[in-house]
């Protein structure tokens, strides 16, 4: 009798203990690699903020596979070497089934061999060098547009811009060189000519030599591809040298609100290619989602200027978690297979992967939306020709 009671008791107690265990199942870990320190630290931190909003929203809806989502953030210090180390750490130590990262093209390219070595997929949220999806790395799923796609997106507006000859000033990285080549190709194809193509070191602060050289040519438009800090400096120095050019920035990292504050009148009249317009959430593909995101961002007291980067963090985590949901388990190989079936609505627009790169080893590439704004009298405006279309 006593023995039976003991068995009953132990059964009861184990049931009692087991119940909370089910609810507190291990969280699903999502790795995030961003530049949290170094010259582009601001962008990386904005993306972390956006990623945290996505995580909190997903967890508030009950998480994924009945488990909470945990975000593990690693700093790549704006340095390609560190990006590879960060990927290895997340994979080996934390055993994450999927990573989101790693901001800059050079950083993403450096992390890619690690993904292949260990077989873990990565959702690429910012990088735009076309080589990333062309290397034959089947673990890459990119939601940001490669420069070619961005350039093609601009094609329909080329007539409105009326470009006869364009010059390029780009950061001397995979991203900058890729963008200058891609936009140059599209321009040449549509009958415009390409003048000077100049580069600047990522950390350079004095771009007067490049500006003087560009000024001596006869272009009418300057394409600028770099971080917002360097864009600010180039615009200020171009004003000092009276460089009369229509300026178009590419890559979506130009943070126009920050430019208005820091470059002042030097930024007036410039055009910016962006992938999210927090000033006009109603013009976004999913207006309701965009509004909610901007409201949540403001509620958390994050700087408004960061939204044009922050949305990438949201969309990246959304995609990664959807991959885990479709896989039905937090296993890297299963998530890789499932990412091909992802079809979700992000802040930028629909996210759905198509094959890119050498046959048999294709990477996934989504087709993001592209938007253009202009800084006009110290305010962000939709250019007239965009509003019409």
């Amino acid at each position: 009798m006593i023995r039976m009671l003991a068995v009953l008791l132990s059964l009861l107690s184990s049931a009692l203990v087991a119940a909370p265990v089910v609810a507190q199942q291990e969280p699903v870990k999502i790795g995030l690699i961003q530049p949290l320190s170094g010259p582009v630290a601001a962008s990386g931190n904005y993306i972390r903020m956006g990623a945290e909003i996505a995580r909190d929203w997903i967890n508030a809806r009950g998480g994924v596979l009945g488990r909470q989502v945990q975000l593990l953030v690693e700093d790549n210090k704006s340095d390609p070497k560190e990006a590879a180390t960060a990927a290895e750490k997340l994979i080996v130590r934390d055993k994450v089934p999927v990573i989101v990262g790693a901001w800059g093209s050079s950083m993403t390219l450096a992390a890619m061999p690690k993904l292949e070595e260990y077989g873990v997929p990565m959702v690429v949220e910012t990088s735009s060098a076309s080589t990333i999806t062309r290397r034959g790395n089947p673990w890459i799923f990119r939601i940001s547009p490669p420069s070619e796609m961005e350039a093609l997106g601009l094609e329909k507006y080329l007539k409105d811009f009326g470009i006869k000859q364009a010059d390029f000033l780009a950061v001397n990285t995979d991203w900058g060189r890729g963008a200058a080549a891609a936009f140059g190709d599209v321009l040449k194809k549509s009958g415009s000519s390409v003048g000077a193509t100049e580069f600047m070191d990522q950390a350079a602060t004095d771009m007067n030599a490049q500006i003087t050289k560009i000024k001596s040519g006869s272009g009418d438009t300057l394409f600028l591809t770099t971080s917002v800090e360097q864009i600010t400096l180039v615009l200020k120095q171009a004003q000092e040298q009276r460089l009369a050019r229509k300026v178009i920035t590419t890559g979506g990292s130009s943070a126009p609100s920050q430019l208005i504050k820091q470059a002042g009148p030097a930024a007036d009249g410039t055009y910016h290619i962006l992938f999210f317009l927090p000033w006009f959430p109603e013009a976004m593909p999913d207006a309701k989602l965009a509004k909610a995101f901007v409201e949540e961002w403001n509620k958390r007291g994050y700087p408004f200027d960061g939204l044009t980067e922050g949305f990438r963090g949201h969309d990246g985590v959304l995609t990664a978690v959807e991959g885990v949901r479709l896989a039905g388990k937090a296993d890297p190989k299963a998530v890789q297979q499932a990412l091909w079936k992802v079809d979700v609505m992000g802040l930028n627009g629909p996210i759905k992967f198509e094959k890119d790169g050498p046959a048999g080893k294709e990477s996934g590439q989504s087709k993001p939306s592209i938007f253009i704004v202009q800084i006009k009298d110290g305010k962000i405006a939709l250019p007239g020709f965009v509003a019409k279309k």
């Binding site: 602060t205 600010t232 040298q241 200027d305």
Partner: protein, 290 residues
Amino acid sequence: MDQLLQHLLNGVLLGATYSLLGIGLTLIFGLMNVVNFAHGEFYTLGAYAVFAALYGTGLSFFAAIPLAIAVGALAGATCERVLLRPLRGESIDTVMLVMIGVWIAMQNAELIGWGGVAKSVPAPFSTAPLVLGPVSVSPLRVFVFAVSILVILAAHLLLAHTRLGRAMRATFQDRETAALMGVRIERIHTITFAFGAGLAAAAGALLGPVFLLYPSMGDLASLKAFSVVILGGLGNFAGAALGGLVLGVAEELGAGYVSSGYRDAVGFAIIVTVLLLRPSGLFARAERVG
């Protein structure tokens, strides 16, 4: 021709900023034999001090510059008194490692304190450029150039023609003899380091409004300062001043006429050449042997 003139003007303006960065380091590195990796951090400190003075206390830009120099000199003196004095007599490598530590600690403190988003300092000058025939230049850069030259001259006079300057030079030439002559060498060490740090802070204060403020801005400044010091010869004041100009003009012409992708490579090619042909610096006087 117009293009060449503009390039030369750009180069001289840029070079003057390199000179200003270089003279502070040539004191600390050349004279004291401390490989000061934190030089760029004192530069950053000067820039942020101006920013804080403008927004915190409402001082004018011109009043904020001396304040920033004082902050930099004070930080330098503290660093020397607390970290370097106990290491007197240790090998140059030990001191170098400590300075790397100071560099990392200061840069990360700046990141925590100011955040990673770049800040800009407004300067009380018109943004409309001054146009001189075919070339143009912003009034702010003319001001920075003029003040840089004044600071370099003042520092030179102090070092070459005052009792303090003589005591500094004596201390680092031969500490024992200097001590026997009544020079308070411990104090001279602190003053010299503070002086160099103050010059770096002056560069930061002046260049803050020209460029942008962010925690890692000092890295590039350090790199250029070391280049200038090597180019001009260790501890050679006039050499650092001229070396800065040479580096600025060379980079500018290299970017303008060779390739902007190799801009920094041009600067370093010159340094390598100088080290090969004149290892004691471009402007070193013939050394007395024995």
